[in-house]
Symmetry: C2
Subunit: 330 residues, 2 copies
């Protein structure tokens, strides 16, 4: 062995936690619980919420995830989220380490441990630990991480005044990858950064031909002056569980003659400028109205009637639709 | 608080390490050391080689990395790797937490601690811990992780018989993202998987127009029957430090009239089928000859003369070129 430098501290199991103490994490109070299949247990201690550096998730983003909400003690659309998680995993050759039934039980159990009736639940399935190459076969098996986090509602102006949206300058994902909710979210990070750097709330992707795609973690919905409600085709963007549910709910408004049509179609960004109303949807934000797009007002720049109607339909669904609610607490 | 289930074990600092013991990691013997800026220290204990689950690296692949080799006690092309790391980081709005000079000192120091003269050094700069959203501004600052790993040479047939290569079916990265060595490597994972699933050693990307791009973690070089040495343009693929150095070395062969031309240009895959020799390059493999592409032999399917020549030039450079070697051990 060579002679050692001094200076760099060696960390062992004896001084590990003491060393971690110096890393202050005030936001750790938001972290209610984490389950890891490597422990087959859960922790409430934010210091312990770690993953191995050699899990391919950590060095390749090689994993998939889904995020759902527990609302007043019931998880909304849990089965749909888990089915999408399974589809994402299968798309990249990862088999879920548990059946969706077992996973349902585990998600409920971990959430219950927190005692929190309104929270965000993040389920990640990773390729697993095994080395530092790109080769998925060096891993000994997929791992499951579940993080339960406090739900912090978006600022109230989102709903009372609407949000500002800009067109992203970044090249968008190929539909193959857009449809996999993987941990390769650098584009999504850069789109969020781009929005904030330009004093906007959100940015939206546009493909090579000028058709809008999706936001950093949001779907977009466009309501035209002809009373048509358009969704970018779900085979070209991630099938958002909130957007998809709103589409189902909105279909009732066609039979009531409130809407002329509800459909998936390619939407050119010029159509967005001229829309009657525009919405962004997501698990955390539900549905929010867009007040400006690229600095131009959408209609009068205020939340419109359809927004109010869809918001009420969705919020009602989230607490009353027994078919889509999984109770956590008895 | 609600009544708790039994069944799921709660992990605390008291039983954390004991729980980890059940997670057997025989390959951990390859892990010589890990430095983390969160500890500002290093560890040789594979159990402790972890990153926080809320580092955006872990849930978005939001970080950049570079991998270099220590050969016989000297790190080859360290400065070039660190400059590329800095370029990658800056491209996504991450400032390196240390200057490249300080980083050089740290990489040398951590490597020295292992006492290992032949190893792989992986330097990762992450967005940092701070939450679970895509918003980079929720993080309190970039973190640095350095992993020193045993160098395991590729199988000897790579050099004596050559490797098999197939065309990837996956849509390739936009050049903007191809040029950033980020931890969004799902495409690269799937390309490695695709190769192995098809009983090939490697796969190579092809763009929409049929021009070859890059491998999972390899660059490709094509030597034509007209004695031209072609590299796919480095503004469309990741600028491999090995490929780039081979380009520099090969330029000497033009003045010696061994090669007619050395240049970057778009290479159609049909040109590869007809090549005299084809090579893959990378930090771990150096340079390897391709014996077959999509099942067709390259020339007679055996390593050619230029391969032998370039290999010797590169291996010589790796141990004798003082300008590109950073000594670790005094």
């Amino acid at each position: 062995m060579v002679e050692r430098d001094v200076g760099l501290k060696e960390i062992s199991k004896e001084n590990f936690f003491e060393t971690l103490k110096k890393f202050e994490r005030p936001w750790g109070a938001n972290y209610l619980a984490m389950y890891s299949s490597l422990w087959d247990g859960y922790t409430k201690d934010p210091d312990l919420m770690m993953i191995p550096a050699d899990d391919h998730l950590a060095h390749r983003g090689d994993g998939v995830f889904d995020t759902m909400r527990c609302v007043n003690g019931c998880i909304y659309q849990l089965q749909r989220h888990l089915r999408r998680l399974e589809r994402s995993a299968n798309s990249i050759g990862i088999k879920l380490p548990l059946s969706t039934e077992e996973l349902t039980g585990l998600v409920v159990e971990v959430t219950k441990k927190t005692g929190e009736k309104d929270c965000i639940i993040r389920v990640t399935v990773s390729r697993g630990p095994g080395g530092f190459s790109t080769n998925p076969y060096e891993c000994f098996g997929p791992q499951l991480y579940i993080n339960v986090i406090k739900y912090n509602p978006p600022p109230s102006y989102f709903y009372t005044k609407g949000v500002s949206l800009i067109t992203s300058k970044y090249p968008q994902k190929d539909p193959l990858f857009a449809n996999i909710k993987s941990c390769n979210y650098l584009l999504n990070v850069l789109m969020k950064k781009e929005a904030l750097d330009n004093s906007a709330d959100y940015s939206i992707g546009v493909d090579r031909d000028g058709y809008i795609t999706e936001g950093s973690t949001e779907n977009i919905i466009v309501f035209t002056k002809e009373n048509e409600l358009f969704f970018p085709p779900f085979d070209t963007v991630l099938t958002g569980t909130t957007a998809y549910r709103i589409k189902e709910l909105a279909e009732n408004l066609v039979s009531q003659s409130v809407l002329k049509e509800v459909s998936e179609r390619k939407i050119h960004k010029d159509v967005v400028y001229e829309a009657k109303e525009v919405f962004l949807t997501g698990t955390s934000i539900n549905i929010v109205p867009v007040s400006t797009y690229d600095g131009r007002k959408i209609s009068d720049g205020m939340p419109g009637e359809l927004f109010q109607r869809l918001r009420i339909m969705l919020e009602n669904d989230m607490v009353n639709n027994k078919d889509l609610l999984t109770p956590v607490f008895d």
